[in-house]
Every structure is written in structure tokens, then in C-alpha cells.
């Protein structure tokens, strides 16, 4: 069942505080968080979070199309290396 709209999106309060602090400082640093359950809000766009996966903090660069998802979706808990083959990486 979907979450009731009147409650608004769930975000752990410390995530909001850390994001606000980082935005005010203007430094482009990785914000370490453990809250995989928090929803990605519009004010997080442009920030980089280090989302804990149980072992390490995975860098998550928040973009507009990620709004409404949970942080945990971008920080997998299982490792798979696969083959490099012709896969490409773009520096943003």
C-alpha cells in the first residue's frame, strides 16, 4: 500500500540537517549518510551523498530524475564486477 499523501515524504531529520549544512558551506563534498530509507527531495539535487550499503559509503550524485526514490536504491548491497568489454563512463 502506498504511503498516505498527508504525511509527506519520509526523510530522516539528520539527512536534512547535513544536506542543509553542506549546501550552506558551498563545498562539494560527499555527505555520509546511513539512512537508506530516506526519500530523495528536490533540495538534494546537485549534492553528492555517500550512502552506506552495510560495508562502505557509495557515492550518489543526486539528479532531478531521482526525486521521490529512496537513497538505498542507488547503493547496492551486493557486489558484481562483470566484464568491462565496451562499457563507457562519462565524466560529468
Amino acid at each position: 500500500m502506498a504511503r498516505s499523501v498527508w504525511k509527506g515524504p519520509f526523510v530522516d531529520s539528520y539527512v536534512l540537517k547535513k544536506a542543509e549544512k553542506s549546501r550552506e558551506s558551498g563545498r562539494n563534498e560527499v555527505i555520509k549518510i546511513w539512512s537508506r530509507r530516506s526519500t530523495i527531495l528536490p533540495q538534494f539535487v546537485g549534492l553528492t551523498f555517500g550512502v552506506y550499503n552495510g560495508k562502505k559509503h557509495i557515492p550518489v550524485n543526486v539528479t532531478e530524475d531521482m526525486i521521490g526514490q529512496k537513497f538505498g536504491e542507488y547503493s547496492p548491497t551486493r557486489t558484481y564486477y562483470g566484464h568491462a568489454a565496451d562499457k563507457k563512463a562519462k565524466r560529468k
Binding site: P59, N61, K92
Partner: protein
């Protein structure tokens, strides 16, 4: 940067007419044929690839030099490699994972941090997985965090702020 890059593997024979079941590791599975000729790991055998159709767990394909089911069965497990030169050039700020893996990683002060072990993309931008004496470090592949990528010199320079480590 190695000259041969693994792009697929033969997972067995398909049918009785000498076709093989090909497992492709490329972004677009059928693009494996574009990188032909393919080679075995030791570079001794060379194959041209004709993909016939998609099948369960891969692609059915004809490889030159493989004409019977027995020959195809004998090739089971063989990994197929393409020459790096067969891959098209990329625009600025775009790199093949195969080129990045293994590069030496230095910080902005010139201190060696390790080597690139893998490049991940979990849906929130590419990440360099750096393995060094202090363990594993994950760095977002952005201009801010990775200001220099020098493929010729075989090194990348990363700008680690305190919280990245």
C-alpha cells in the same frame, strides 16, 4: 591499457550445424559482431562472427573455423577478445571502462593512492573503485573529484576532500 579486451564467451554448441551459443558482454549484446575479428585469449585463433538469432541465454552465431557441433562443443568456455583498436573513438570526457581499469591513481599532491580496480554505475553516476594500500576507496567520476585522466601516461588524479575517504 591492454590490446585485447574480453567481449564475450562461447557457452557451448547451438543445434547440430556448427553454430555456437555466444554470451556477449558488450553494452548492446549484438554489437559483439562489430568488433570482429575476435581472438582467443592467447591470440592464436581468430574468428569472424555472424550472428544468426537471439536464443535463450545468449546469441546463436557462426564463427569461422567452427563447422560442426563437435568443434563447437570443444570451444565451450572459451573467452573471446577484441582488439582495442576496433572500438570507436569517444568524445572528450567519455572513457571505456577497459581503459580506466588499472590506471595509477594519484592525489593532487602526487601521493600514490592505488589503482583503479573497477568502474561502477548504480544509476547515480559513474564511480571509480580504487584499490590501494589503505583499502578500497570509491570516488565519483566527476570533473570535480577526478580533474585529470591521462590515458597516455596511465594515471588519474583525484581530488579527495576529507569526507571522500
Amino acid at each position: 591499457m591492454s590490446d585485447l579486451i574480453c567481449v564475450g564467451a562461447i557457452s557451448g554448441a547451438f543445434g547440430v550445424r556448427g553454430e555456437v551459443r555466444l554470451k556477449s558482454f558488450t553494452s548492446d549484446p549484438t554489437a559483439i559482431a562489430d568488433y570482429a575479428p575476435l581472438f582467443t585469449e592467447d591470440g592464436k585463433r581468430r574468428f569472424d562472427v555472424t550472428i544468426t538469432r537471439p536464443v535463450a541465454n545468449g546469441l546463436a552465431a557462426h564463427l569461422t573455423g567452427i563447422a560442426t557441433k563437435e568443434e563447437a562443443d570443444a570451444m565451450k568456455g572459451t573467452r573471446l577478445f577484441a582488439e582495442r583498436a576496433q572500438m570507436p573513438d569517444l568524445p572528450d570526457d567519455e572513457f571505456y571502462h577497459a581503459d580506466l581499469i588499472g590506471l595509477l591513481v594519484l592525489d593532487t599532491g602526487g601521493v600514490e593512492l592505488g589503482r583503479v580496480r573497477a568502474v561502477h554505475d548504480h544509476g547515480a553516476g559513474d564511480i571509480l573503485d580504487i584499490m590501494g594500500p589503505k583499502g578500497e576507496t570509491l570516488v565519483p567520476f566527476t570533473r570535480h573529484a577526478v580533474p585529470t585522466v591521462d590515458l597516455t601516461a596511465g594515471r588519474v588524479i583525484v581530488d579527495l576532500t576529507e569526507d571522500d575517504a
